[in-house]
Amino acid sequence: MLAILFFIPVTAVTLIMIVKSVHIRRIIFCVAAFLFSVLALMLCAVAPISATKYFILDKTGSLFLALLAIVWSAVVVYSKGFLASEILSVRKEQLYCSLLLLFPVAMTGVITSAHLGLFWVFVQITTLLSVPFIYMDKKISALEATWKYLFICSVGIALAFVGVVLLSQAIGVNGSLFFADMGSNAKLFSPMWIGFSFVFLMVGFGTKSGLAPMHAWLPDAHSEAPAPASAMLSGMMLNTALLGIVRLVIMMNNADAGKISSALLTVSGMLSVIIGALFMLKNTNYKRMLAYSSIENMGIIAICLGTGGAAYYAAFLHIAGHAVIKAAFFLTSGILYQQFHSKQIDDTRGLISRFPGAGWLWISCFIMLSGLPPSPLFFSKLILIKTLFGQGHYMLASALLCIILLVIYGMGKTVLNMICGEAETVLSNIPQHTRFFWYTPPAALLTFAVLCWCYPSITGFIRGVAERMAQ
C-alpha cells in the first residue's frame, strides 16, 4: 500500500511528459493529485504500515504525512488559479506540474524512511527537486537565492553525512542505522561518538529546517520562490527535515544523552527566535518577513523539543499549526503580489478598502500566526512557557515571552500598515472565474488550523504522537 504513494505521482509525471494534449495533461495532474492526497490520508488513519524494511509509516510519520497531504492539496488547487495568471509556455507548465507531483514523492520518502541513511538521501533529493521552483522567475535575485539555497543546504547535508558515519561508529559492528533499532538499543552506544554524531546531524538537518545559525538561505529562497512553492517549502519541507531531529532526540533520550540534545536544541532554538524576531521588525519585503517568521517558529519548535516533557505535545501542535498557517500566509501573499505586483510593504497599502477578501485573509493569517486565540500556536506557546516555568527556566521563559511580544508588535505593525491607507501603485484584480482557486485554499488551511486544537480526533492524534515520544 505504501508503494502506491510513490507509484501514483511517478506514473503521472511519466504520462505528463509523454502526452501531447494540454487538456489531458491537466486531467492526469488533477486525478493523480486527488488520488495521492486521499490515499495518504487513508494510510495515516491505519498507520503503522510497512513496505520492505526500509519504508515504514509509523504514528509520528503519519502526522507529517497527513500535514503534507493537506498542505499539498491546497497548493494544487491554488496552482489552478496561479497557472491561469502566469503566462507560462506549454513546456514550463509541464515542468511545473511534474515538479509539483515529484516533490511530495521525495517528502514521502523522507517521512517513511526507516533507515537514517535513506532518510539522508531523500532529504538531499528534496533539496535538488525544489531548486527549479525557486528559480522559476529567472530573475537575478532568484538566481542568487537559488545558488545560496543549493550550496548552503548541500554543504549542510554533507555535514549531516559526517554525523551518519560517526553514528555508525557509535553503534558498533552489531548495530544498524534503522530508527527502530537505534531507539531500542541506544543504551549500548558509545557515549562519546553519539554526542559528536548528534552535533553534525543537528547542523545538517538544522540547515534544512532553517535553524540559526545555518538559516542564511531561508529568507532569500522563500521570498524569491513563487507563492505555491514558498507554501510548500515553508509549510512542509522545513518540517520533514525537523522529523530527522525528532527521531534523533528519541535516540539521544534513550541513550541517556538527552542533556546534549536538549542544550543544543535550546541554544539553536533561542538563536533562531531572536534572529527571526529582529529581522522581522525592520523588513520592507512582506515575503521576507514571512520567511523570518518561519525561522522564528522553527526556533520555538526546537526549544519545545529541547525542553521535553509536556513540551513535546507543544512541539507537535506547533509543527501542525505552523505548517498549515504559514502555507496559508504564503498563498495569501501570492494573491497580494498578483494584485499589487510588488513584494514591498510600502507598495502594498489599502488592502481592506481595495481588496476586502485578500485583506481579511491577510489579517486572519496574522492573527493565527502570531499565536492569538483561536490559533493552535497560542496553545503550543502557552504549554511551552508553562513547562519552562515548571522546570525552573525562568530567564529563558521570560526572554521567550518578550521576544514573542516583539514579534507580534513587529508583524502587527506591518500588517496594519498594509491593510490601511491608500494604494498608490497600479493594481489589478484577480479574474472572477479563478477567484475560487486563489481564495479557497488559504481559507481552508486556516479553518483546519483552528480544528488542530479544538477537534478531539485531531488533538488526540497529536497527543498520542507526543506521548509516544515522551515514553
Partner: protein, 211 residues
C-alpha cells in the same frame, strides 16, 4: 603503502591552500580520486567482494574520471582560470591549513586513545580534509572553487567512512554517489547561468539580497 597514499591525499589539500590556479584544483581532485581508489583496493580483504567492486567502480569512474572531467569543463566554459585575490594571502592560507591539520591529527590521536577500533591516520586526514574544505569555501571567492571545495569535502567524508570499523551499507554509498553527481550537474548549470548574467562568477556579485 597505505601511509604513503594518505600522506599524498593530505598534501593535495596543502597544495590547494597555496595555489591560485583553478585547473590545479581539478588536478588535485583527480589525484584524490586515484588515492581513494588505491585505498579501497587495499581494503579488499576486509570488505565483501561486492562492496569492494562497487566502491572501486565508484572511486575510479566517478571520483577519478567523471567528476574532474565535469569540473574541467566547468572551468573552461566559464573561463575561470585563476582564483580572485582575497584578503587572505596564500601564505596565511597555508598556515591556517597546517593548523587545521595539526588539530585534525590531535583529535584523531585523542579519539584513538579512547576507541581503538578507528584507524587514527585515516580519521586524522579525513577530519583535516573536511575542515580544510570548509575553510576554502569560506575564504575563496570564485564559485567554481566553492564547487571544487565541496567535492573535496565529499572526498574527505568518503575517507572518514573508510576510517570507521562499521561498513557503510551499499544503499548509502549509492545515495552519496547520486548526491555528488546530481549536485555537481546542477552546480554546473547554475554557474553557467550566473556567468551569463554577471559576466563573472565571483561570490561578491551575489550580495543583493539583504535584510
Amino acid at each position: 603503502m597505505e601511509l604513503l597514499i594518505l600522506i599524498i591525499f593530505a598534501i593535495t589539500m596543502l597544495y590547494v591552500s597555496i595555489t591560485m590556479r583553478i585547473e590545479t584544483y581539478v588536478h588535485m581532485l583527480f589525484l584524490q580520486g586515484i588515492s581513494l581508489s588505491f585505498l579501497v583496493a587495499l581494503r579488499l580483504s576486509s570488505l565483501s567482494i561486492f562492496s569492494t567492486s562497487f566502491l572501486l567502480t565508484e572511486t575510479l569512474i566517478f571520483k577519478t574520471i567523471l567528476v574532474p572531467w565535469i569540473m574541467m569543463k566547468m572551468v573552461h566554459e566559464n573561463a575561470a582560470l585563476r582564483e580572485l585575490s582575497s584578503k587572505l594571502s596564500s601564505f596565511y592560507c597555508a598556515v591556517i591549513t597546517t593548523i587545521i591539520f595539526i588539530f585534525g591529527f590531535g583529535m584523531a590521536h585523542w579519539a584513538s586513545g579512547i576507541d581503538n577500533t578507528i584507524r587514527p591516520l585515516y580519521f586524522g586526514v579525513s577530519l583535516s580534509v573536511i575542515m580544510s574544505a570548509l575553510f576554502f569555501i569560506v575564504t575563496r571567492r570564485m564559485l567554481v572553487t566553492h564547487v571544487a571545495a565541496y567535492v573535496m569535502l565529499e572526498n574527505g567524508i568518503f575517507l572518514l567512512s573508510l576510517s570507521v570499523s562499521q561498513e557503510m551499507p551499499l544503499l548509502i554509498n549509492l545515495g552519496v554517489l547520486l548526491d555528488i553527481f546530481v549536485a555537481l550537474f546542477i552546480f554546473g548549470i547554475f554557474i553557467t547561468h550566473i556567468k551569463s548574467t554577471f559576466d563573472e562568477i565571483d561570490i561578491d556579485k551575489l550580495t543583493t539580497l539583504k535584510g
